[in-house]
């Protein structure tokens, strides 16, 4: 059997900090792709209810929401 070897053993690779960012990036892509399959519904709720719901959002969800708002404001 052919001996197995590593690829570019002296290459510079990402830092540990970048590994954290990588994991967040994967999570974001997985979430965004999952959301695409969700059926969309129109929901009529008081604005105050929507705003108070923001307090329960995770950081990643808030980042996603911010991006959505920025996209809307850019139009």
């Amino acid at each position: 059997m052919k001996r197995k070897s590593a690829h570019e053993p002296n290459a510079k690779v990402m830092s540990a900090t970048e590994v954290w960012d990588d994991a967040q990036q994967i999570a974001q892509v997985l979430r965004q792709n999952l959301l695409k399959t969700e059926p969309m519904v129109e929901l009529h709720i008081p604005l105050s209810v929507f705003l108070s719901a923001l307090d329960t959002f995770t950081r990643d969800e808030l980042v996603l929401l911010r991006k959505r708002i920025e996209d809307r404001l850019a139009v």
């Binding site: 590593a6 570019e8 002296n10 290459a11 970048e18 590994v19 990588d22 994967i26 999570a27 792709n33």
Partner: protein, 194 residues
């Protein structure tokens, strides 16, 4: 080997395009099944398939079919990849100034830039290739990032992450002792406590 057989994409699923390094790390640490658990399919360009064979991983590539699919680039894409390979070779973060030796990373970047892969993720560890891919707007992760995500998603423990990275290191992959310790600490305690 499985060449361009994974055609029907599952709605809502995430696919990956991979460079050679992360796949070798997955094979070294018996993590391909974990990768296949996170990604519905993994695409590699022919240059990476050649590198995997050269490094002795042909059987593993074959066994990974049909989840692992080898993709042939068009002639214009191959030319673009050669240009990108030269860019990687000239980047300050590379140790290897020979463009042709970065063809695997470059072809993976070109593949990830295809419109059908716009919702996919590029797997690449090498710093210079990561910088070039980011400049081109490609979303990416290294192999350790996939393991960290797996810990955060409770697919493996922080200890398993450490063991897998150590297995890679023992087989010659470029993850240092301090790097593994830092990633393990993040997996165990989160980013702030490292």
């Amino acid at each position: 080997m499985a060449q361009e057989q994974l055609t029907a994409r599952l709605p809502g699923a995430t696919y990956a395009v991979s460079d050679t390094g992360p796949l070798i790390s997955a094979f070294q640490s018996d993590s391909f099944a974990l990768l296949a658990n996170i990604f519905a399919g993994i695409y590699i360009p022919t240059a990476c398939a050649t590198e995997l064979t050269k490094h002795g991983w042909r059987e593993e590539v074959h066994a990974a079919s049909p989840k692992l699919v080898i993709m042939q680039l068009a002639a214009n894409e191959e030319r673009r990849a050669l240009t990108i390979a030269r860019q990687i070779a000239q980047h300050p973060d590379t140790n290897d100034p020979v463009g042709e030796r970065h063809l695997g990373e470059a072809q993976a970047i070109v593949l990830a830039l295809r419109s059908e892969h716009r919702d996919d993720l590029l797997l690449v560890d090498e710093l210079a290739a990561r910088a070039i891919a980011k400049q081109m707007g490609v979303r990416l992760s290294g192999f350790p990032g996939v393991l960290l995500l797996a810990v955060q998603a409770s697919l493996i423990s922080a200890e398993e992450l450490k063991v897998r990275l150590e297995k890679c290191q023992q087989q010659g992959t470029h993850y240092g002792v301090t790097f593994i310790k830092q990633v393990y600490e993040m997996a165990k305690h989160g980013r702030r406590k490292q």
